[in-house]
Symmetry: C2
């Protein structure tokens, strides 16, 4: 859908930010993560303060200037338009993808979280650029998940969906090798980068692991 | 700012919906309220479920079809665009008015809640159509308010702001006469209509009170 021309595979190592980190920490994490090899950044804010959401999105956008790393906004299409982000990521209770696509046009990336098999089947007909397969494993970041895809579910999704797939949920260096060997297009990471003592090294090490273990889809 | 051509004064009796009422109750309240004389309806939803927000906004829009009563969406510009509402109402932590105006264009109404004197001063330079002076009196609907304008504050605002002013907060039949006599452009009501046993009669009685007591600004 998108005509954007980013890195060969912008999904490879996809940082999703932590809305509980303050602005300085957020910007520092993003800068370091990108220096370490992160290929895409999603700003996710779950509080209701839009002005703060915009301030954080603008700060991340500034941190990404000149890096060619796309900025994705979670949920709020209006915030994505306001900060002229590169795309929007939707959950299943967010705006329907077709409506969001109409509002953002064809030039921006549009992603959708897929949480079960029915959603996986439906996504073939949606005007989206990629799916976030959620959640692969349990994670402290998101505690309302009903089921987990695991490696078998991920392989099933890769076999039954032609869109790029980003795996999300409980991913860290311990399970990156097995996840990558499925041939998945990208890994979305929150804690393993944002909460690392050295986010740059964490991102760098993850990129190396991905390069060593990346399978063919 | 807006080129809309609604009722002579769309602000006169402005219903703000209650997000705790279920969809059927919401639609019933809106239909009855409009039959009783409500001149504008704002859909306000404070939960995070956008798909439900859209469903409720669409249902209200359908209920308003053919009535010439404008539909206003609280906070979410993207939802307003998605349902093609007649306008957006912003709070002080929502998107800045200038940004929202850019996203919605010049044809839609844009309102802003004003909670203190500094905001009142600033609003003169903003691309908005009206202000909601919040809160006039204490109310169970909104419990985080710091100060109340009262009648004196309302008179001050009317003297120092040329935009249409809608009074909101704790307004019911007991205080409508004194509020109307200030010459305020409109009254925004939540509970006194939504929670009335007979919303149509409540709206009708409020319109009558307004007509009897409306002062010159």
């Amino acid at each position: 859908m998108s005509h954007l021309n980013h890195a060969p595979n912008p999904y490879l190592l996809y940082l999703v930010t932590d809305d509980k980190q303050d602005l300085d920490t957020l910007v520092n994490v993003v800068r370091q993560a990108v220096a370490g090899g992160v290929t895409m950044v999603q700003v996710r804010e779950k509080h209701g303060d839009v002005r703060e959401f915009m301030a954080r999105a603008f700060a991340v956008k500034k941190a990404l200037e000149g890096t060619h790393v796309p900025l994705i906004i979670n949920d709020r299409v209006d915030v994505a338009l306001a900060v002229d982000a590169d795309g929007v990521h939707l959950g299943q209770t967010d705006m329907p993808a077709a409506v969001a696509r109409q509002l953002i046009g064809n030039e921006k990336l549009l992603g959708l979280s897929i949480e079960n098999h029915q959603q996986l089947q439906e996504c073939a007909n949606l005007p989206i650029d990629y799916i976030g397969l959620s959640a692969i494993y349990p994670t402290a970041t998101k505690t309302d998940t009903q089921t987990y895809w695991g490696l078998n579910g991920l392989r099933y999704a890769l076999d039954h969906c032609t869109l790029p797939i980003v795996a999300i949920g409980g991913i860290d260096s311990s399970n990156v090798p097995s996840i990558c060997e499925t041939g998945v297009d990208g890994l979305a990471i929150v804690s393993a980068i944002s909460h690392a003592k050295d986010p740059q090294k964490a991102a760098h090490d993850l990129r190396q692991l991905i390069a060593q273990h990346h399978g063919k889809r």
